[in-house]
Symmetry: C2
Subunit: 244 residues, 2 copies
């Protein structure tokens, strides 16, 4: 005599699974109640009951006249501090960081790299940073090839810039300058980052230097704007002299 689960509960479970699988992405719109009731062959009330259960869990948010939307995950704060600490940033927000390496290669420097690093050949390290499996951004970092001959092997093995540079003898490096603009996601990158074409991306262009002020990394990162907020907090102790 197993008690049959209510229809609304099984519908809620189905939708819950589909949301988890990304069928309806964060911030995305669910089908209308009418469409769902047609799909499941039930009355609209029954669908509403299921949706109410999801809303109870904070999984969806409904807006009268607009639709029912998958609750957008809160943005991950990404402090543009003196040090680059991707893992810490993600972990601090209660998520699990991961990294997907797309490319490691050595090639001649392009104009921007030559200007930033002042060298003719660079190691390239390109990949995707994820939090809980969801892409936060795509990074592309260049390093002077001459100074760090074995960096590609270390990057392959460690998949971490900080660790690889440390093994290459660079104890510490800091952010010298960052330029922030915004772009729209286009075909190839939109797919990599799992966003719709035309979604807003934050593009940061950063130069990192060693303790002597010599540039050691030139990096460009495209963050998914819906998933990341960059934060800037002037460090205490600095007191610039500037005049209005």
């Amino acid at each position: 005599m197993t008690k049959r689960a209510p229809v609304w509960a099984s519908i809620a479970a189905t939708l819950r699974a589909e949301i988890a699988q990304g069928v309806y992405p964060p911030g995305g719109k669910l089908p209308t109640e009418a469409a769902l009731s047609a799909r499941f062959g039930v009355n609209r009330h029954t669908v509403r009951h299921a949706l109410a259960a999801l809303a109870e869990d904070g999984l969806v948010v409904s807006r009268r006249g607009a639709g029912v939307f998958v609750a957008a995950a809160p943005r991950t704060d990404y402090p543009l501090g003196r040090r680059v600490r991707f893992q810490q940033n993600v972990t601090a927000s209660g998520r699990t960081p991961s990294r997907e390496v797309l490319r490691i290669e050595t090639r001649p420097a392009d104009d921007a790299e030559r200007a930033a690093l002042g060298c003719e050949a660079v190691h390239l390290f390109e990949g995707i940073s994820l939090a809980d499996g969801l892409p936060l951004g795509q990074f592309r970092s260049s390093f002077p090839a001459k100074r760090f001959p074995d960096l590609p092997e270390k990057l392959h093995r460690l998949a971490s810039v900080t660790a690889a540079l440390a093994e290459a003898g660079l104890r510490d490096y800091t952010r010298a300058s960052t330029r922030i603009t915004a772009k729209l996601a286009r075909a190839p990158r939109a797919g990599l980052l799992r966003v719709a074409e035309g979604a807003a991306l934050l593009r940061t262009e950063a130069v990192n230097i060693d303790a002597d002020g010599v540039p050691v990394e030139y990096g460009i990162t495209w963050f998914v704007a819906d998933r990341v907020a960059l934060t800037v907090t002037p460090e205490p102790g600095a007191h610039p002299a500037d005049v209005s």
Copy 2:
């Protein structure tokens, strides 16, 4: 005997004026050479001569097989330093800054303002910042009404936050924190900023504090991403203690 200007020169002048008026926005595509020669009733070579003149000035860029495009104006660098200096930033890039005031009013604080300023009523100062007449961003600043009773009048008269606060007795104030995200421009704001709907905007949310660390301004600014780059440069003298 006034020497008649060559036809190609007058066509160039016409196109130059239309680009300046925004008929062809920065980055936008000009009509094809064939279309232009039809419009002006001249041979395609004449149009090419005119376009070559514009290209010489760096006003347009032609790409074989794609078309001729209005050169994107270089982005105005906007340093997120400790002080907010809009005028300096624009002047430094060789442009003429101006400001268009949209709204000055006093009203109850919303949740974000209450959280940032800790007060129940705020003065609102809203407007557009322009460089050479082109909108760079829309700002909306809130100030604690109780602390600065006469601020609206001062803002009306001076149209400058720094000057108005100075007159209200606030000698100095600095940026405490800034949060940066990106959004797509929607209907009302897109018009105000003179960009297409769906263009990328940089949204900054900043809290400024006085010398005692008390918040005095909560401001949100939407920058047109194509026209502005935010720059972050850690100030010398700071030496944070952080560990990997």
